[in-house]
């Protein structure tokens, strides 16, 4: 009996030993496999992925993009990412300085009258192949942007130039455009109507120059690749691996090259995932990363220097004002406006420092005559008042002849903030007004298509400024504006927009904006949500990075590396 037991013990021991051995072998095998794989990965990957965030020796800063620019033809560009790259590799007639004031660019002098403008170009402005930037390049670019065949979405921003709209709709030939190169270094522009803000317009992307001979040699692929673009800005793109990386080196022909301190801006990573970007920052792979509300505690724990930036765009719920929609009813809109509190949304739900509770279509940073517009014309948005809201709702039901408002379709984007925001409003309208709201979550392009076709009751919309004048927001709800997705039409508002567009007197114009602001509130055209802000962290050695409300954001053209601190 004892013999059997001991032999069984022996078996158990042997089996146990074998099991342990197998276990160790498995662990070892996995470890070896991982090691081999990591070696293989480092062998195959390019140099950019292992780079440091900041390299003081070569003057290189590595950053990450959320998405890749679709293309870099300035006459077609619409998105912020293209704007950022073009802001670094191109320069317009005028540009913005570090304090966001208009500064000379390619033009060294300019005169803007009531009905025309003249720009004198600097002698030493050069393309990246060494040739001079001439007035013809601007005229060619503007004509190209207005060419009806090219259907540029931003062509409308050139409409203040004489005949631009007629050229864009094909009623007049391209050379009828009111912009002429008198000689290589003098450009004259005639206006369609008196215009007060042309200097701010010419700093916009669509106004950038394009050289005709180069453009025509690219077989319609202008801006599609690094070598399919000619540069006249502080940097030039030297490589563009689509979907992976992008590299901008200092442009040796740039006239103001002494002011450019960085040698290379290396966009080493393109990823839409904010957590991935934050991890890259943590691992010292990129020099700047945004923070989400969820990441804030961990950023505080890491003791990073956190920066805040109000990016200038305004977000709001836009109603559909088309004939067949219940949201055309003013009382329903007023009820919904009164039933929510943008402060609660900003302080308790989105929770990101830098967001400001929305009160108006016009953001707080816009300047009026002397002081900020919103100080001169305060937005008297009514405060949340549930009793009044319910009274308006009852009125709306009576006017519409229904006992219960049918479920409203709430079109939103598919991103974390929109998700939270739409679910928050869904519950608010349900709780406070008993309204059923269905969330229609769509990707950006699909959402835009549905907004254009009017397939929504409410839509979570935002608007960012194109130029530094309140009109960039003010004409949004004009009946002719195609970005007025809810098709709101009010002759009085249209009249005020016309005044703001054509008047030259700042006071008259600002009065008009004040009127527009009041109409939007009285008519409950939108529910203002917030002015968007962001918080971000930067590498301590990178200094002078500018965040801009208008123009290239983030702007590294004036940045430098300082390891001494």
């Amino acid at each position: 009996m004892s013999d059997i037991t001991s032999s069984e013990d022996g078996f158990t021991r042997t089996a146990g030993r074998q099991l342990a051995l197998f276990f160790l072998m498995a662990i070892g095998g996995v470890a070896a496999l991982m090691w081999v794989l990591s070696i293989a990965a480092s062998l195959t990957s390019s140099g950019t992925t292992t780079s440091q965030a900041v390299d003081a020796e070569t003057g290189t800063v590595t950053i990450a993009f959320t998405t890749e620019p679709p293309q870099l033809d300035s006459t077609l560009a619409t998105d912020m990412q293209s704007g950022m790259v073009l802001g670094h590799v191109m320069e317009g007639l005028l540009t913005y300085d570090a304090n966001n004031e208009i500064a000379p660019g390619v033009a060294e002098r300019w005169e803007i009258g009531e009905n025309d403008a003249t720009f004198w170009l600097r002698e030493d402005a050069r393309w990246s192949d060494g040739e001079t930037v001439t007035a013809h390049d601007f005229v060619f670019a503007w004509r190209t942007a207005l060419d009806p065949k090219r259907a540029s979405e931003y062509a409308f921003i050139l409409y203040p130039i004489k005949n631009a709209e007629a050229v864009n709709t094909g009623k007049l030939p391209l050379d009828a455009l009111g912009a002429q190169a008198v000689d290589d270094r003098t450009l004259t522009v005639q206006f369609e109507r008196p215009l007060a803000y042309f200097d701010k317009l010419v700093a916009f992307t669509t106004y950038l120059p394009v050289r005709q001979d180069f453009f025509e040699n690219t077989d319609g692929k202008y801006g599609a690749d690094a070598d399919k673009l000619l540069y006249n800005g502080p940097f030039m793109m030297t490589s563009w691996v689509h979907g992976a990386s992008l590299r901008m080196d200092k442009n040796p022909h740039y006239w103001n090259r002494d002011k450019v301190k960085l040698n290379t801006i290396n966009v080493g990573y393109i990823t839409p995932d904010p957590n991935a970007r934050l991890n890259l920052f943590k691992d010292n792979n990129i020099a700047l990363s945004g923070l989400t509300a969820e990441n804030l505690p961990s950023a505080l724990e890491n003791r990073w220097q956190i920066h805040r930036f109000v990016d200038g765009s305004v977000f709001f719920i836009e109603f559909n004002h088309r004939e067949d929609r219940v949201t055309r009813n003013l009382n329903l809109r007023k009820a919904m406006l009164l039933a929510q509190d943008s402060a609660e949304l900003v302080y308790k739900v989105t929770k990101i420092p830098g967001y400001l509770p929305g009160a108006s279509l016009f953001p707080t940073w816009l300047m009026g005559v002397d002081k900020p517009l919103r100080e001169e014309y305060p937005a008297n948005l009514p405060r949340m008042d549930l009793e009044l809201a319910r009274r308006h709702l009852d009125l709306a039901k009576r006017e519409l002849g229904v006992d219960q408002i049918p479920p409203l379709t709430f079109l939103t984007g598919d991103n974390p903030i929109s998700n939270i925001q739409s679910e928050y409003f869904q519950a608010v309208f349900k709780k406070n007004l008993g309204l059923d709201v269905k969330i229609d979550k769509q990707i950006f392009k699909q959402r835009l298509a549905k907004m254009t076709s009017g397939d929504f009751d409410l839509v979570l919309a935002g608007w960012g400024p194109d130029y530094n004048d309140p009109l960039t927001f003010g004409d949004l709800f004009a009946s002719w504006n195609l970005n007025n997705r809810g098709r709101y039409a009010n002759p009085e508002l249209d009249r005020q927009v016309r005044i703001a567009q054509s008047s030259l007197d700042p006071k008259t114009r600002m009065d008009a904006f004040g009127q527009i602001q009041q109409i939007l509130i009285d008519d409950a055209v939108i529910i203002p949500n917030y002015e968007r802000g962001s918080v971000y962290v930067t590498h301590p050695h990178v200094k002078g990075v500018l965040r801009r409300v208008i123009g290239a954001d983030v702007d590294y053209t004036r940045a430098w590396i300082d390891t001494g601190a």
Binding site: T292, A293, E294, L296, P297, S298, L300, E301, R303, W304, Q305, I306, H307, R308, A343, E344, V346, Y347, K348, V349, K351, P353, G354, P407, T409, F410, L411, D414, P416, N419, I420, S422, E423, Y424, Q426, A427, V428, K430, K431, V437, K438, I439, D440, K441, Q442, V535, K543, G544
Partner: protein, 457 residues
Amino acid sequence: MAEAGLTSTDFERIEQSAAIQAITRPSLSYWQDAWIRLKDNRRALYSLYLIIALLMFTIAGPWVWRIDPGAQDVDQISQPPGTDRKATVVEPFVPWDGTTLIDTGTGLRLAQPATTQAVRIQWDPLTSTGTYRVYRNIFPLGEERAFGLPLAEVSGSDGLYFEDRLDLRPGTYHYAVVVLDEFGGPGERFETLEVELTRVITVYEALAKGLVASTNDIRIGDEVKLALHPFGTDYLGRDMLARLMAGAGVSLFIGIFAPFLYVLLGVVYGATAGFIGGRTDQGLMRFADFVVALPFLLFMILFKIVFGIGPGESGIMPMLLALVILAWPATARLVRGQILQIREEGYISACRLLGAKTTYLVVRHMIPNTMGVILVTLTFAVPSAIFTEAFLSFIGMGVAPPTPSWGSMCNEGLKTMLTYPHELVFPALFISITVLAFNLLGDGLRDALDARMRSRE
């Protein structure tokens, strides 16, 4: 011969007695035997209890815990379970314009007691002119001069104040005001202030949230307890327990109903194919092979469109249909194999010789003999269906907000995984436990129902 010692009595006839023929142990039916053996399997038994408890949680839970899973408690956003719920009643919030600055004290100081409604700070100028940036941190300022969250820029020469309302939670905050240098970065001069926040609520809010019955029951300065959330709240202040219950409804509906339907379909299909055999069998099984090759996700999307499921409507029905239409072939193959085998058994031939009809054969012999396989398939199909639902809701193809499901809750919880882990842990735990319980029960059932293992114990 005599050594054998036999006597004549040995050659007498033994009386026949019934006792020898009697069966000493009680006769057990197939199901009784299976139940006894399942009971012996501790793991399977506990899994069964767990599944019953989960069903109770789903069905009876919402009757006991009567909280709307869509109701948002914005005062308690992302609260982990077991947070202190005491709140003091205060006056309604009125925006502050800095006119009530107090004169007592110097430096950075509180203009009034700090609450979760607002923190109002004021300070004396540090330089003659300048812009200050107000920071807030959850740690005291250290050597590295990380001031924390930048809240705002304030400029002026006197009457400097700031009101903070951003996501205030009870606890300690460290405020700092820093003079900005010429580049707009934090400069050398700064002041800090440690602030202790108390949780407050207004009379109106307490009334709206149903914490008190009427305004008479409550006065400024009273202490009330905020609504209880035993499992904490999610990123919009919704009760996790109520959401888990509502989510269990969706997850278990798909998890139990879909497998039941497709296993039934598979049994009928497989039995037909196996029993008829020949060309019909070949044809039917090739069609089953064809169905196996169809992509599930694509069909799910197609059904969603064909059904006219609009935006913001639940995708549960198309999910159910897609599962039923595409998942049956596995069961069908299994059952067909069994039927083919049983068809050739001796007792079937004997039955046929005795003149049994086809219906009798199928109902009396074939189905009961395949029952084990069917039940086991069913219990293994349940967790896979729960997983499918969780996965589809995770990628946003399933339920529409605000309806929760365990999968969509995981998806939402993932974003706050590091800061508020409870939002991910609870739904993930429920999915894991349910799937494990069904798997273990399936394991036990397989052992218990396998007739061939009967003699081996």
